[in-house]
């Protein structure tokens, strides 16, 4: 049991991050807090990919004259990191759009509390 918990501690921490993110998005009333939840959620997915690329007794995927290219297994796979660079860029773009929408909402209604916003939307 302890082996199961400790052996997968990376995945447990990723699951905890995922749940924190989902909790923030679903239960927080303030839109800025929802956004923080969304970013935590995205980061947990990025951590998942990075964790999947970890390999002991291997080196960074840059050609090393000592190691050579004969044994490719001595390098870690660079693909996950490349994918996550793209995903980070996408995440930054998403939060940029989200923040600009939040600013627009604040200009229109002078509040970011979702319960107030729903009341305003119904009345107008």
């Amino acid at each position: 049991m302890t082996d199961f918990l400790l052996g997968h501690f990376v995945y447990w921490s990723i699951i905890i991050l995922l749940i924190i993110g989902l909790y923030g998005m679903m239960f927080k009333n303030n839109l800025a807090k929802k956004l923080i939840g969304m970013i935590i959620f995205q980061v947990s997915v990025i951590m998942f990919y990075v964790a999947s690329a970890v390999k002991w007794s291997a080196t960074v995927p840059v050609l090393d004259p000592v190691t050579g290219v004969a044994d490719a297994a001595k390098y870690i796979s660079p693909l996950q990191h490349c994918l996550m660079l793209t995903a980070i860029v996408v995440g930054v773009a998403t939060s940029g759009v989200a923040f600009s929408l939040a600013i627009l909402i604040y200009r229109n209604y002078k509040t970011l509390e979702e319960s107030d916003l729903l009341n305003h939307m119904k009345s107008s």
């Binding site: 995205q42 998942f48 793209t86 995903a87 929408l101 909402i105 939307m121 107008s124």
Partner: protein, 503 residues
């Protein structure tokens, strides 16, 4: 066959999206012609593509000359070229229509608006042609981010609706990304065809099941399948009319297409319908969604909100066809992607014409004078409404017919009942409007004539319609009759060529 044309449409839209803000620095009137040229070009290229694909078989394009599975591959097979043609044709008519209402809906914002619309279509076409799972994620986010912008430009409440869509949509995309992460860990590949070949060698792997559930969940949010549809009604209601007419026919259909592509062409029918009961789950959720969407649509007082709830129901038909997982259901689902794009497109365009004419599109305000003021828009509305209800020979009948046959083929009588009941519910909420416009007596008036003699053009009564608003609506809705009459050819020549293996 390796060919350049799969990459042309996404690149054309990307080039248009970048060049519109640059060209429009001096004069913002340039934006609209550039948009129309790009949109018309995409229709031409995708028609050429589908003819080429039907004649010579699937086309592929390898980015940077890297061969799959290492490089990114673009694939046009009969299914993807068909969906691409549907998307580009409907987008062309919606953008044509946009010229008449842009002053009312998006005053002073036409340059960023058209650039975003181009980016939106770039993402849509990229999703359709790509054969790479991660590339699909990138295009999905391009598509969604442009969509949030298109919605947020609208009314005062639109940013709130768009924000909620953004949160839900990002969760969906992240679930999708997590799913392909699992898939990559077990297969070591991101190319769809390659993953398809590897998966049968690792039966019973729990990571594949996790990947499947996560991808279904993510795409279900984007597709607004029943319990995950929360973002849709507000987003469609408060968006500018052009955005509603662009996103309602294209947005959710793209997600449905991705679901079809990944469930049946990556995981395979055997896995999704027999080893794991994912398709049964989709079918039941969709059946509930059909009834829920129809009942909610009946309760709405505002036309765009009614159409939004009706979209939830119509997505259910596509989901039901996917969930049946037999050839008839699959034909029904793909045919309904075409039909619903044209039906919802023309209905939202009519709602836009109403808003332009009368300021609001509340159902309570509709009256008999509209049949003189907007005769062609109302005729278009009638055709599209009949198609939504599913009366032959309109297109809507035939997709429901295939879905019903598929349900009978599976022996699922419950789904057959859902299809029939929902047709009746559709009839209720559309005849409610048609009755107000065509059947009720004109309101009592004091003195002046409430229905002045209609203006005529080329010998036809055109009321007070604006040609640039009327012609696209009329073409889209009357082509529903053509699609209905020609549906046997579409099914035989296009859809039946790519029935997934093992159905």
């Amino acid at each position: 066959m390796v060919h350049n044309s799969p990459a042309l449409v996404p690149l054309l839209f990307l080039a248009a999206a970048i060049s519109i803000p640059l060209l429009a620095i001096r004069n913002e009137k340039v934006a609209y012609p550039v948009t129309m040229v790009a949109s018309f070009g995409s229709v031409v290229i995708s028609s050429y593509n589908i003819l080429l694909v039907l004649r010579t078989g699937p086309l592929t394009y390898h980015f940077g000359g890297w061969f799959p599975p290492i490089g990114i591959e673009y694939v046009l097979d009969p299914l993807s070229s068909f969906v691409a043609l549907v998307v580009n044709v409907i987008a062309f008519f919606v953008l044509w229509h946009a010229s008449g209402i842009q002053e009312r809906e998006i005053p002073g914002k036409s340059v960023p608006y058209y650039a975003l619309a181009m980016l939106f279509l770039c993402g849509a076409n990229g999703i359709i042609v790509t054969g790479d799972l991660f590339n699909l994620y990138v295009f999905l986010e391009i598509f969604s981010l442009a969509g949030y912008g298109l919605i947020g430009i609208g009314e005062r409440q639109a940013p709130v609706a768009s924000f909620r869509y953004l949160i839900m949509g990002t969760v969906g995309a992240s679930f999708y990304l997590l799913g392909i992460g699992f898939l990559y860990i077990v297969t070591g590949s991101l190319n769809m065809a390659d993953v398809r070949n590897i998966l049968p060698h690792i039966p019973g792997n729990p990571a594949v099941a996790a990947a499947l559930s996560l991808i279904f969940l993510g795409m279900g949010i984007k597709m607004a399948i029943f319990p995950l549809h929360g973002w849709l009604p507000d987003a469609y209601t408060y968006a500018p009319s052009t955005s509603s007419a662009l996103i309602a026919p294209i947005g959710t259909k793209i997600a449905a297409y991705v679901l079809i592509r990944i469930l049946f062409f990556v995981f395979g029918v055997e896995l999704v319908s027999r080893s794991l009961p994912i398709t049964d789950l989709i079918a039941w959720l969709s059946a509930i969604g059909i009834l829920y969407g129809s009942v909610m649509a009946m309760a709405q007082n505002e036309m765009k909100r009614m159409l939004a709830y009706s979209s939830v129901a119509q997505i259910g038909y596509i989901g039901l066809g996917i969930g049946l997982a037999n050839p008839l259901g699959y034909i029904g689902a793909v045919l309904h992607i075409l039909n619903h794009a044209f039906m919802k497109g023309s209905l939202f365009l009519v709602a836009a014409n109403l808003r332009k004419k009368t300021g609001r599109s509340d159902i309570a305000n509709l009256d008999v004078s509209l049949r003189k003021k907007l005769p062609w828009s109302m005729a278009a509305f009638t055709v599209a409404a009949l198609s939504m209800i599913g009366l032959p020979p309109t297109a809507g009948f035939f997709s429901k017919w295939y879905l019903a046959l598929g349900a009978i083929d599976r022996g699922e009588w419950g789904f057959l009942a859902v299809i029939l009941v929902s047709s009746l519910l559709n009839a209720v909420y559309f005849f409610r409007i048609l009755e107000k416009v065509y059947l009720l007596p004109p309101p009592q008036t004091t003195g002046e004539d409430p229905l002045p003699e209609a203006r005529t053009g080329w010998g036809f009564p055109v009321g007070e319609e604006n040609y640039s608003l009327m012609i696209p609506v009329v073409i889209v809705s009357f082509s529903l009759l053509l699609i209905g009459l020609g549906n046997a050819n579409i099914v035989k020549e296009v859809i039946q060529r790519v029935i997934p293996l093992g159905m």
